[in-house]
């Protein structure tokens, strides 16, 4: 079983709390969600009781109702759609560092108690007390909780896709095939913990992907772009869709001039934006606390030690408004936050879920996530990016005699223990004597996390959080994430290419 971790493609952080939630910090939980899940406080309490019946330290019940709609275009027609509903309840019990987990797709008492009993078996002692009452706690919001894509007429979604297709065709006669895929999803969750705390969230997300084939003089090339957000349908402004159209065409046409370069070790300039994929792989996964508490990460022995130049600061942030990686609460009910992983070049904080926070005796960082009710929680990234540094983009490019400039990416991967990581460059440029030159395409870059962090020798002041639809995979679970980067220089790393 391949248990390595990967990422694929699949702003300011201000947010207002809803007035209702500002009033009464511990409003009694009065079955607010009963219309959706039909679960009484009494049944939730009984489920926790069954979960703790063999002496677990902690238990939670995660209820989820998720719907999604996808409409896609091929050969100029929006002639296919997928919709789906997923409903279920996951019960988790922890005992020390160990986890018992089971879920039910049925909401009746018998099924919930059965799931709870299965999860309880991770412990083997006398019962722990379940909470006597449950209380709904407010959450701070970084995206709206009233975005109901499902209530929106699908004709609007179809029209968006058709209009995007028409714009691409109108702008470029060399395009022979266009694929477009629009998706929206809304997930309503309710998390009830054995602390007696209840938190709910409504997590919307939407994305629009393009992929086209162009043909010139009998040669074909392909390219694409993606837009993703937790905003409502209003996210698809003319400006954004126009950028998707223009970037799709520019990147695809660039391919006709691109070659595979001669591979080897060289300086690599990371363009502002999606280059944050390097952080995700080189340091992000290695800073997830589960690998460290198991002593399995290359970062397990480096906390509070300098690992990069003093102008390198890396954060993992759940609070970027409407970002694909934003979260109001994590999937074990902890409010989200902005976690400083690297501060002035020093390794500071791992990303924690409840289990690892308890293990290390620190507060959870709101990083406990799961793909759905079918999975237990793991420490995961949200939006991972580097803060601005002291240099300018122009001076960074100018400093490179022979190297490459990376612009867009498709996927990456890391081996947590060795720290070896990769990311795949879809488009970029050669740099010769300080100037961008010939386009390059489809090369893998491979390096070692701590080694590459130490080789980040310049960081510009032009941070961009990428707007693409990234999905991070770990232990078979995919979660939406964001990433960002100012333009930066890695002084030497291995770039794939011709012999």
């Amino acid at each position: 079983m391949d248990r390595r971790d990967f990422l694929k493609v699949s702003v300011s952080a201000t947010a207002a709390m809803a007035a209702a939630e500002l009033m009464g910090m511990r409003a009694a939980y009065a079955g607010t969600m009963s219309s959706r899940f039909g679960l009484s406080d009494e049944l939730l309490r009984k489920t926790l009781e069954a979960a703790l019946s063999r002496g677990g330290d902690y238990a939670d019940v995660y209820c989820q109702y998720k719907t999604f709609t996808n409409v896609s275009l091929e050969d100029d027609k929006v002639d296919r759609a997928r919709t789906g509903v997923e409903l279920g309840v996951g019960v988790r019990v922890t005992k020390g560092d160990s986890t018992g987990y089971a879920y039910s797709e049925s909401l009746d008492e018998k099924a919930l108690i059965k799931a709870a009993k299965i999860a309880s078996e991770i412990a083997n002692g006398s019962p722990t007390l379940a909470p006597k009452s449950l209380a709904l706690e407010p959450v701070r919001r970084f995206y709206r909780d009233d975005t109901k894509y499902a209530d929106l007429d699908v004709a609007k979604k179809i029209a968006l896709v058709q209009s995007t297709n028409a714009q691409i065709k109108a702008k470029d006669a060399n395009i022979t095939k266009i694929s477009l895929s629009y998706t929206d999803e809304e997930s309503e969750i309710l998390i009830v913990s054995s602390d007696g705390i209840v938190r709910r969230d409504f997590q919307p997300q939407t994305s629009l992907y393009s992929s086209v084939v162009a043909e010139k003089n009998g040669r074909r090339e392909t390219g694409g772009y993606a837009l993703a957000s937790r905003e409502g349908f209003g996210f698809y402004t003319q400006e954004r869709v126009g950028r998707l159209v223009d970037e799709t065409l520019r990147r695809t046409n660039l391919m006709f001039d691109a070659t595979q370069l001669k591979g080897g070790e060289m300086p690599v300039v990371l363009g502002a934006g999606a280059s944050g994929i390097l952080l995700h792989e080189a340091i992000g996964h290695g800073m997830e606390a589960d690998f460290n508490r198991k002593n399995a990460s290359t970062y397990a022995s480096r906390l509070n030690k300098p690992i990069a130049k003093p102008f390198v600061n890396v954060v993992d942030d759940g609070t970027i408004e409407n970002a694909r990686g934003a979260l109001n609460v994590d999937d074990e009910g902890t409010p989200t936050e902005r976690t400083l992983l690297v501060e002035d070049g020093v390794l500071r904080t791992y990303m924690h879920d409840r289990i690892s926070a308890k293990h290390y005796g620190v507060k959870p960082t709101g990083s406990g996530r799961r793909e759905s009710f079918r999975y237990p929680v793991l420490p995961r990234m949200r939006a991972t990016y580097m803060l601005n540094g002291p240099h300018k983009r122009e001076e960074i490019v100018k400093s490179v005699k022979h190297g490459i400039f990376c612009e867009s990416f498709s996927n990456g991967q890391v081996n947590i223990g060795s720290g070896d990581f990769t990311f795949f460059v879809k488009t970029g440029y050669l740099i010769e004597n300080g100037k961008l030159g010939q386009p390059i395409k489809d090369v893998n870059i491979i390096g070692n996390g701590p080694d590459v962090l130490a080789k980040i020798t310049m960081v510009a002041d032009d941070l961009v959080i990428d707007e693409g639809g990234w999905t991070c995979g770990k232990d078979g679970q995919g979660v939406p994430v964001s990433q960002g980067m100012p333009t930066a220089l890695v002084s030497a790393i291995t770039v794939g290419g011709k012999a």
């Binding site: 248990r3 759609a81 997928r82 179809i158 595979q260 079918r374 223990g417 990581f421 090369v443 491979i446």
Partner: protein
């Protein structure tokens, strides 16, 4: 199994409901699944997970319009509301005359239960057996020596039932089981913690390797990773272990399907009946292997399973064409996707091939990387060993293997006699001459 004969009744109710809503053509699939995972670490159970799930998937064909809808909320009132919404949405799509149910003639002559896809003893497996197996793997791994920082191991087993019912007469189901065992070992190497794993999968529990053997293999593989370094960039012979070679065939598969062909996204477009690969390469798609991890009686369209030549001595013989893209391309469908991809093994042992390398690389796993299915360009990170005069000199890391599939497969110089059986891609190890490796 949570799925029993009632499911036909449930699927038939949904079919009747759709008929009432004016939908004449429908394909229904009910998936149900049970799975149990037991992971251990440091002599303790790390995670126990058990799940059972069931979902209904509905393909609706209405007035030349098509959409696929899925739900696991099977309460009668909710299901009816869901199907009503699904029909209303499908009607709003654009017409596509190629979207029809498959010709029922293609359903005929399906193979029977001789494929042995399910272990009859699945439900007799006890949690204590899973724990014992996981602990035995982990203990054997940990016993490997003082360099072991952490060893973990686990088992996952699952039973999956697929029931398919269509309005034009398809009515069948297939039940499969699978068993997976895995051990992961992390070693001390300064601040680095090199890791590797051993794993195995099978349709029946009895054929999995002994747990302690898997544990020892994981430890030996991880131990061998200590002290990895880069080598100089250049053209080298590259010997890819069978287990790792699956990645290369996945690249080929991405260019072998009907959609890639019809959408002009395949570097193999126009290569049918041509010498696209080394003459040493012969690949068969064989859904009929007893206990095969990719075996099946029918495919996603209900098309009955049969053996197909994909590549014969380097000549491309067949694409994977499903019903829809077959109609769009105006060619006969074959089958929508791979079953067991059987790569014909060579005669020499891996160790014999290794001895033949003067200065070259063994690939034990690929990391990251990607392949462009339209142009055939690929670039992959690799982990393995540097070999000189047939001897492993040291482990290597931070290297990339790059090339173009239209050239690369002509550099195939030998295949091992060691097909990897823990996957639906049954490939032996592969030796390529003059492969482009980028390093220091």
């Amino acid at each position: 199994m949570s799925v029993d004969k009632n499911d036909y009744a449930q699927a038939e109710r949904a079919l009747a409901l759709l008929k009432k809503l004016g939908v004449k053509d429908t394909a229904l699939v009910m998936h149900s699944e049970e799975s149990t995972t037991c992971d251990v670490r440091e002599g303790k159970v790390e995670a126990l997970q058990q799940s059972a799930s069931a979902s209904l998937n509905v393909g609706i064909y209405i007035d030349g319009r098509y959409a696929a809808h899925s739900t696991n909320d099977l309460r009668p009132a909710e299901l009816e509301a869901f199907l009503k919404r699904a029909v209303a949405l499908t009607k709003q799509l654009q017409e596509d005359s190629f979207r029809t149910l498959p010709d029922p003639k293609l359903y005929a002559n399906r193979p029977g239960n001789e494929l042995q896809l399910a272990d009859a003893a699945y439900h007799t497996r006890q949690m204590s057996e899973r724990k014992a197996s996981a602990f035995a793997m982990e203990a054997a791994a940990r016993a490997a020596g003082k360099n072991v920082v952490v060893a973990s191991a686990g088992t996952t087993d699952e039973i999956l039932d697929t029931l398919r019912l269509t309005s034009n007469g398809f009515r069948d189901r297939q039940t499969t089981t699978s068993f997976h065992s895995y051990a992961n070992v992390t070693m001390a190497d300064g601040d680095k913690r090199p890791e590797d794993s051993a794993y195995a999968s099978a349709r029946v529990a009895g054929v999995l390797p002994a747990p302690d053997a898997l544990g020892r293999e994981a430890a030996a593989r991880a131990q061998a990773r200590i002290g990895a370094k880069k080598i100089k960039s250049g053209a080298y012979p590259v010997l890819v272990e069978a287990r790792a070679a699956q990645t290369l065939f996945r690249h080929l598969l991405s260019a072998l399907n009907g959609r890639a062909l019809q959408q002009k996204r395949s570097f193999l477009d126009g290569k049918l009946e041509t010498q696209a690969f080394s003459k040493m390469l012969t690949i068969t798609d064989d859904p009929l292997l007893a206990h095969g991890l990719g075996s099946r009686r029918f495919d996603q369209d209900g098309i009955s399973a049969k053996k197909t030549a994909v590549v014969d001595q380097g000549t491309l013989k067949s694409f994977y064409i499903d019903w829809y893209y077959g109609k769009k391309l105006g060619i006969a469908p074959t089958t929508g996707g791979p079953s067991n991809l059987v790569v014909e093994p060579g005669t020499e042992a891996f160790t014999t091939l290794e001895k033949k390398i003067d200065k070259g690389i063994i690939v034990t796993s690929f990391i990251g990387g990607n392949s462009n299915s339209l142009t055939g360009d690929f670039s992959l990170g690799l982990v393995g060993f540097y070999v000189e005069k047939g001897e492993r000199k040291h482990p290597v890391s931070e290297l990339n293997l790059s090339g173009n599939h239209t050239q690369f497969w002509k550099q195939l110089a030998a295949l091992g006699n060691d097909p990897w059986m823990s996957s639906s891609i049954r490939t032996p190890s592969l030796l390529f001459e003059g492969a482009a490796v980028s390093g220091a």
